[in-house]
């Protein structure tokens, strides 16, 4: 399948001063700092990384909710950054966004029928009757009772509200949906309902997803390919299996080893790589490789030379001077053997 979305050198800086004295000396938040990736038609690209690494900013730049500082975004041959007027409107029909917070993202004064078809109203599509019919259809698609069309958001649970948000995002038959932490606020049992729904809808409508989340297990489950971000950079990207089975970046390795798995025997024997310190500030990111301040294998070169993303296996790239398969000890190992080897 061809590429639906192609992102090249995407940069987004935020200026930190609010006043009028915007000087060239003012510090900038390097939220996204030169990332490139592609999303193939019909696939799900997962975007993972810790809080503040730039996932949401990336998602928002893709649909021009934010204007990028630099870089190109190509959606099915269209230069997204150059879009204006009608063309931009049309683009906004093709690309939709699902927000993290199912409570804050729905207008409490609108009925769910109105919420779900709001995009149709905005784009002046259909008669009121047609919109009502479409609202019922959409509610049915996401597993809600179409008879509830006149109810208000507060009458629904968190998982149901997230379904309402998903129904709204489907109203205009989009081709690409950016899902920003769509299940993070939900209980596990409800989370699974929404993940399965997103899976079904993808099959049914041939949707392409960019799925943003910090939960590595959720991302692995839903994604075909996965990009791992750290401090505004993509440090590793590839097919889900290669990336999870054989991470080639020490950050990915430590992330995977840090997630506890629901299996007491595995947890008792597992090697955990505990990273020291906190994520550095994106206002003043470290020189060289951004991960070097916490990296267990950093060498001199990592302090001053930034590693480029390079291919390490088929459909698998990593940005590390010392990229190689780093073992993930999910099975039992004697403490201090494999991990010592990796370091």
């Amino acid at each position: 399948m061809g590429d639906l979305l192609r992102v090249e050198g995407l940069v987004k800086y935020f200026s930190t001063d609010q006043g009028l004295i915007a000087s060239r000396l003012s510090k900038k938040v390097h939220a996204v700092d030169g990332i490139s990736f592609t999303v193939r038609s019909g696939e799900t690209l997962g975007l993972v990384g810790e809080s503040g690494c730039g996932k949401s900013t990336t998602g928002r730049c893709l649909i021009r909710l934010l204007e990028p500082t630099a870089g190109t975004i190509d959606f099915d041959g269209i230069d997204v950054r150059a879009l204006k007027g009608r063309a931009l409107q049309e683009f906004r029909r093709d690309v939709q966004f699902i927000f993290q917070d199912p409570y804050a993202s729905l207008n409490p004064r609108m009925t769910i029928g109105e919420i779900v078809t709001e995009p149709l109203a905005v784009h002046r599509l259909g008669t009121p009757q047609e919109r009502r019919a479409r609202a019922k259809e959409l509610l049915d698609v996401v597993g809600l009772n179409p008879e509830h069309i006149n109810r208000y958001p507060h009458e629904f649970s968190g998982g149901q509200r997230q379904r309402i948000g998903i129904a709204r995002s489907l109203a205009l038959k989009p081709r690409l949906v950016i899902c920003d932490e769509p299940v993070s606020a939900l209980d596990v049992s409800i989370q699974a309902q929404v993940i399965n729904l997103l899976d079904d809808l993808q099959d049914q409508f041939g949707l392409t997803y960019v799925f943003i989340a910090h939960d590595l297990s959720v991302v692995r489950h839903i994604s075909d390919r996965v990009a791992v971000m750290y401090l505004g950079k993509i440090v590793e990207v590839g097919g889900w299996q290669g990336l999870y089975d054989e991470p080639h970046h020490p950050y990915t390795q430590s992330l995977l080893s840090a997630v506890p798995v629901p299996d007491p025997a595995k947890q008792r024997t597992r090697e955990r790589i505990i990273l020291q310190g906190d994520v550095p500030s994106p206002i003043d990111p470290p020189n060289g490789c951004r991960f070097h301040t916490r990296c267990p294998i950093a060498q001199d070169i990592c302090h001053h030379q930034e590693p480029e993303l390079r291919q390490v296996a088929p459909d698998h790239e990593a940005a590390c001077h010392f990229a190689k398969p780093f073992p993930i000890e999910l099975a039992a190992v004697a403490p201090g053997t494999e991990a010592a080897d990796a370091v």
């Binding site: 810790e50 209980d187 489950h221 839903i222 840090a258």
Partner: protein, 338 residues
């Protein structure tokens, strides 16, 4: 005698819509140096259980309606207010989910950690300050003497959480109650904090009650696990028993709805269908029956008692441990599904 014994605890809130039975008959025992994990869906009564033990239920609207909480033979629910204040922070300390709610923004971090020591241990300002620095150092805050003089907003999220742990552990409590201590944190920071708690427990023999919805964290930390649903205990046992031979269909649902990255295949997620019940209008019979694929007539009528299925392993399900309840096998009129 166990360090802490809770029996048949019932805590209720009177609201405009009716009485919320937030905790409805919970019992467990906690031994020294052990970790009990409490898991369950949002609103199932985990925090209220913890707050009841600490006697921190706001009254009104809340009230501990029945039950016993016994700490080293002493009844907590019968203590005078002064005794409860002396217990809190000294013998039982709690880490709250949101560190900003328990760190006061206008006082320096070191001063706040020292406060409990001045109150409970009668330390001088100077002694308490020195001990606060020691505690910050212990929880891995770099350059602790310096950072103790910072205000909470100058700390990152992970550092605040560590400061909270330092505060909770300053007086060497017998019991540490941690309510979702790592939920707001990134996984690499979570790993640091969990490691820290395990280390301190091994060194000091602290008992821990760990409230979480993360079954990975439970597998990592817990000796015993209590699963709650709608204010009731539905399963209780050792971590190995609950993970490897779970007995209650709700526990099965929790385990089966979890995506896992430690298993080769991407299995299908089996969500628990339906929605958690309202605690004002709890379904009659077993509260889980409307969502339970195995439910039968009796489940709609009679609330199952918590009973022992295997030694030390209890479940509250009419059919737990019987041949008519087999995980993944639902008998229907059309035959078996799943």
């Amino acid at each position: 005698m166990a360090l802490l014994e809770v029996s048949d605890l019932k805590t209720q809130f009177t609201t405009r819509d009716g009485v919320v039975r937030a905790v409805d008959g919970v019992s467990f025992a906690l031994e020294e140096g052990h970790t009990l994990a409490i898991v369950g869906e949002s609103g199932s009564g985990k925090s209220v259980t913890a707050l009841s033990i600490m006697r921190l239920i706001p009254d009104p609207p809340g009230k501990i309606a029945a039950g016993k909480v016994v700490l080293r033979g002493e009844s907590v629910l019968d203590m005078s207010d002064a005794d409860v204040r002396a217990m809190r922070g000294d013998r039982i300390a709690m880490i709250f989910q949101d560190p900003m709610t328990s760190l006061n923004p206008v006082f320096r971090v070191g001063f706040q950690i020292g406060e409990a020591l001045r109150i409970h241990k009668g330390m001088s300002r100077k002694e308490a300050d020195a001990r606060a620095v020691e505690m910050l150092d212990l929880v891995g805050i770099p350059n602790a003497p310096h950072r103790a003089k910072d205000y909470p907003h100058q700390f990152s999220g992970g550092m605040r959480q560590r400061a909270m742990i330092a505060m909770a552990l300053a007086c060497d409590p017998d019991i540490l109650i941690a309510d979702e201590p790592t939920t707001a944190l990134d996984v690499t920071i979570q790993a640091q904090i969990l490691e820290l708690m395990i280390e301190l427990q091994q060194r000091k023999g602290t008992a821990i009650i760990m409230i979480t919805h993360d079954l990975g964290v439970v597998a990592d930390m817990a000796d015993d696990v209590m699963v709650m649903y709608a204010g009731k205990q539905v399963e209780y046992g050792s971590a190995d028993a609950v993970f490897y031979s779970p007995q209650h269909p709700y526990t099965w649902g929790l385990l089966d709805s979890l995506p896992r990255h430690d298993i080769d295949e991407k299995g299908t997620l089996l969500p628990i269908e339906g929605q958690p019940p309202s605690l004002i209008d709890v379904p009659p019979g077993c509260a889980f029956h409307p969502r339970c694929p195995y439910a039968q007539a009796v489940c709609r009528e009679t609330c199952p008692e918590l009973r022992e299925i295997e030694p030390g392993h209890m479940a509250a399900c009419h059919f737990a441990g019987t041949d008519s309840l087999v995980r993944g096998r639902v008998a229907t009129a059309e035959g078996e599904v799943r």
